[in-house]
Symmetry: C2
Subunit: 207 residues, 2 copies
């Protein structure tokens, strides 16, 4: 399968775990922009990101990681989608609007994913009970949802009136936050936005 | 004081805490690129990022935050420096090289800062003893340094042969990692890189 690249045309493999929102961001952007790719399912629970072959692609030992036929590799979900979506409508052309998108991308990785995605992981994949979750993580997850609700009360999408990578990135774990014990029923604007963002990306409703 | 902006010329205030590496990233980039700014010292320990006025600028209640005279605001250290350094030599012109820089920027906020900066904060600003640090945070901080050492053994800077924002970002807390109990003497390549990156930015040696 073929993909646009910085130096012409190159085949691209996406190494990902289908249960990971970080990995799904890459799939969604490729599908939305009709970027061809080959998905390589990786089972992180079996140590498949710790093999010498995988660590040679991404020294951080994390998915998603993309690899081009010419040997180039790229990691970090938000860096990958920022590269694949360059020159597309998913990144605002105005430099300041793009910077506001970046603000949300970095916020997502620092103040959202470590709480909402981690709580979901512990419940869904480690089989923990909600009562076993770290209360501080739950509190910070709700703080992230509170901030999103305030922003979305007056803004259709995160970086303005049209969808951008900020929405792709934040959608990944917000749409399944209920699987991490978070009560989305409290968040009317977030629920409205989830539906709109899912429609933009052509996704079925997560709940 | 005046600063370039997306829409011409605007005055810029940088709200920051001089003890915060995240805030110093912004100062270093402004100084390096001769972007004029007014530094507004913010004491986070006194709740100064939780006032209604501050939260109106940055709903996340965090420094650094920059504000332009026309009312626009921008937060998240790596998003700020990415905006201020656009069109400068601190961001590679090649799209894939810029994406590799972004990979390190996101990795810094997810896999480096939460461990190395947080340990330093607890020792230097909360007055804890090294024995009170969360062993998991220390372990992950060393894992970050290990990865940097492996990369820098064969690469002069993080995104290639010339300094980029990846170096600015990673320098902020790495050069003071010893204040968070991390033994930098084990890391010859990291120490070599710290010196080179400090020289690029015109900084005095941190240790």
């Amino acid at each position: 399968m073929l993909c646009r690249s910085g130096s012409g045309v190159a085949a691209m493999k996406v190494y990902g775990d289908s249960n990971s929102g970080n990995c799904l961001k890459v799939k969604w952007v490729c599908d939305k922009l009709a970027v061809p790719y080959q998905w390589v399912e990786v089972d992180t629970s079996k140590g498949e990101t710790r093999t010498p072959q995988f660590l040679a692609m991404n020294g951080a030992g994390q998915v998603p990681t993309v690899a081009f036929d010419d040997g180039r590799t790229l990691a970090q979900s938000n860096a990958i989608i920022r590269y694949l979506a360059r020159d597309s409508a998913l990144i605002p052309r105005d430099a300041f609007a793009a910077a506001k998108m970046d603000e949300w991308l970095f916020w997502e990785q620092y103040s959202h994913e470590p709480y909402i995605a981690v709580c979901r992981f512990q419940l869904v994949y480690l089989g923990k009970d909600a009562s076993e979750l770290d209360p501080e993580k739950v509190k910070r997850g709700y703080a992230a949802l509170d901030r999103m609700e305030r922003h979305l009360a007056t803004s259709r999408f995160f970086a303005g009136d049209t969808a951008s990578l900020a929405d792709v990135s934040l959608l990944a774990y917000t749409r399944v936050a209920h699987e991490g014990s978070f009560d989305l029923d409290r968040y009317a604007a977030v629920r409205r936005w989830i539906g709109e963002a899912e429609a933009v990306l052509g996704l079925p409703k997560a709940r």
